[in-house]
Subunit: 448 residues, 2 copies
Amino acid sequence: MTGRFFHGANAALFTDLYQLTMAQAYLEAGHAGPACFDLFARELPPERGFLVACGQIEALEYLEQLRFSGEDIDYLRSLGKFSDTLLDWLREFRFSGRVRAVPEGRIVFAEEPILSVEAPAPEAQIVETWLLNQVHMQTVLASKAVRVVRAAGESPVLDFGLRRIPGADAGLKAARAYHVAGVAATSNVLAGRVYGVPVAGTMAHSFIQSFDDEREAFRAFADSFPDTILLVDTYDTLRGVDRVVELSRDLGEAFRVSGIRLDSGDLGELARESRRRLNAAGLQSVRIYASGGLDEYSIAELVRAGAPIDGYGVGTAMGVSDDAPFLDVAYKLSAYDGKPRMKLSTGKRSLPGAKQVFRETEGGRLKRDVIAGADEDLAGEPLLKTVMEDGRGLAEPDLDAARERCRRDWDALPEGLQALKAPQRGYPVALSEALSQRMETLRRELES
Amino acid sequence: MTGRFFHGANAALFTDLYQLTMAQAYLEAGHAGPACFDLFARELPPERGFLVACGQIEALEYLEQLRFSGEDIDYLRSLGKFSDTLLDWLREFRFSGRVRAVPEGRIVFAEEPILSVEAPAPEAQIVETWLLNQVHMQTVLASKAVRVVRAAGESPVLDFGLRRIPGADAGLKAARAYHVAGVAATSNVLAGRVYGVPVAGTMAHSFIQSFDDEREAFRAFADSFPDTILLVDTYDTLRGVDRVVELSRDLGEAFRVSGIRLDSGDLGELARESRRRLNAAGLQSVRIYASGGLDEYSIAELVRAGAPIDGYGVGTAMGVSDDAPFLDVAYKLSAYDGKPRMKLSTGKRSLPGAKQVFRETEGGRLKRDVIAGADEDLAGEPLLKTVMEDGRGLAEPDLDAARERCRRDWDALPEGLQALKAPQRGYPVALSEALSQRMETLRRELES
């Protein structure tokens, strides 16, 4: 656990100020009864037909460890906004609630709770910012990465995005979300250490450029790492390939270079010509990797064109989820003091009461989901599991199991939803009759 | 400094694996001479006419503190890739280089170095990932935020983005970049503590919903925070406004509510009608804040339409820089062992040798920039300053000074570049004659 961030004092103030003002007002109004909050995506971006839920189990660690230090309290006092009622409460704070969650790696749709928190209102309130931040980030990244992984078919996808994934925390956890989504390895060394995921990487242009001659650079690198992958596009890609061939002649049996990497130009064309030259030199075993501004669309194009590429390095497009960089996730009060609650704000409906999602399948494929009250027992598989009771986690993150769930769920998607472009929207997510009635009753009450 | 991340062991492994393989190969090839690397944006996204350089001075702290712990070394050894040559070198690692940088908050253009690192090749190499990650992230965010700030004119912009800014590190540092860009306050409490920037925030829908009645909720909140801003759109915005008016009647002289917040619907129309109702009740002093999916374009529209809005809360669009979520930043070797270097990869030119940028102005406006060799002395203001010598920082970040630089530079932009939509590209950035000649000579050498 030592590689993760926000242990101790730092985590506590990672929150929106209004969480703390609300906590104080709940406490001062004697209004600290049990609340239920649901974390869900209101709707999906046009480029997404489904989401891969990710981050919610890791976030339990935050709930277990959240404490406000003396320095945190001093800072809050210095703002001149808060009463001793709040500050004393924060000093003793321990999260005591119950959490239900969809297992990481499962595919979910709009309005389906990914996480559901039941706790006294001020407790459930102040954890909102962290939970949203973390589940949003990892769900955005896993939902993008699974598209890239599937576009590449049998070829492995390597994550090269660390330099442009925003900040250190997302940089680390992206590799986690990618592993869940099926990415083969990451360039991120810290992720290897913290999460035990495979790491990969060999060389950049700078190494080549620092030598007067590309041949010299290849030779020096292969001396240090005999089975390396050589980057061939620093000056002229095909000349670079020829130099790899020369190196194989120079080294003879000692030649063990395992691959070349193309990082610019027309990757499909260059891969074909590189393959031809390598094969002509008897280097059939040298694999070809491609990188450089790739995303799921360009990879699908290369695959469709039959480009002889054995693996794809993907960076920025996956790292910022460039075509859908955010999700409309929300964390909404659905019950207080045993009574279902909802808001009526224009375009932002919320579903009242604690809920469960039942997933029906047919012939191994997803058929429809039904969002129901948590107290209902309908046909299909219930997606939300209890993962925390009385503030103690019952589930440890298991990245390999999550990866397997993601693989299985994707395979079971209706074909239209597997499409990269214009994924078929409208996977049927129904509301149970009881939930619909509850909404109707509540709406009438609120509008009266 | 205690609120920042990646002190000690965690920072060191936050790198791409290939930085470490290259370091080993440099060392083993006896190729660890002085190198110069430049960090710059290759080109700007279509939605950006300029960038606000941000993060580069904060990043010096990383260079000063970077150490590899015994656990880091053990992990690297466990990968079975690295020799004792590298591992012993990492154990003793201290960054010993020189850094020049553009001051934070300055406006820069494509190809202009934001940061320039001179150090032995393996040292300069292994810090690439962190430097790119941090400067990219803060520059993306500051460059977006300045657009939002300027669109809002005299009205303050409040940062509400923490929940959807990817991860904890970007979440924190976004508030820093926003302060530089002119954002008035952030909801992010931790940023307040770490950076001393103003924090703001009052209430969310959940607080309102937890009461049976909106009136009750307003009353309870105003009891705890008399001069608060009340969120009025939970059920029906204008009815919410009427309830604020009722509250003012109930409380009489004790009524000190300072504002209302609109968070959904037609914000311009609702602001006008809210203003009318508030004024009719003698509540001219109650301000109107708007939020909910806002960006620079929708704010500019509201301002143009004369909507009576006194402040804007902006979240996700600014937090992920939705219209330009990444920059094509690079960190490229420009010299090794005293010789200028460049790559020729298709579409990715790099400028050889250590450089300086000279900015010419005319009548208080930016006229053109000239990228030159670091040894040249041309007309105009040199943008790059020495900020680190022998691994010791010479400059502490100063956020207020950076904010002032950003304000001044933006005011001095040619008008076409200040435009929100289709900002005029092609601010003239020339290469000095000496630099052009150096490139030509080098190209001929490399192509021979």
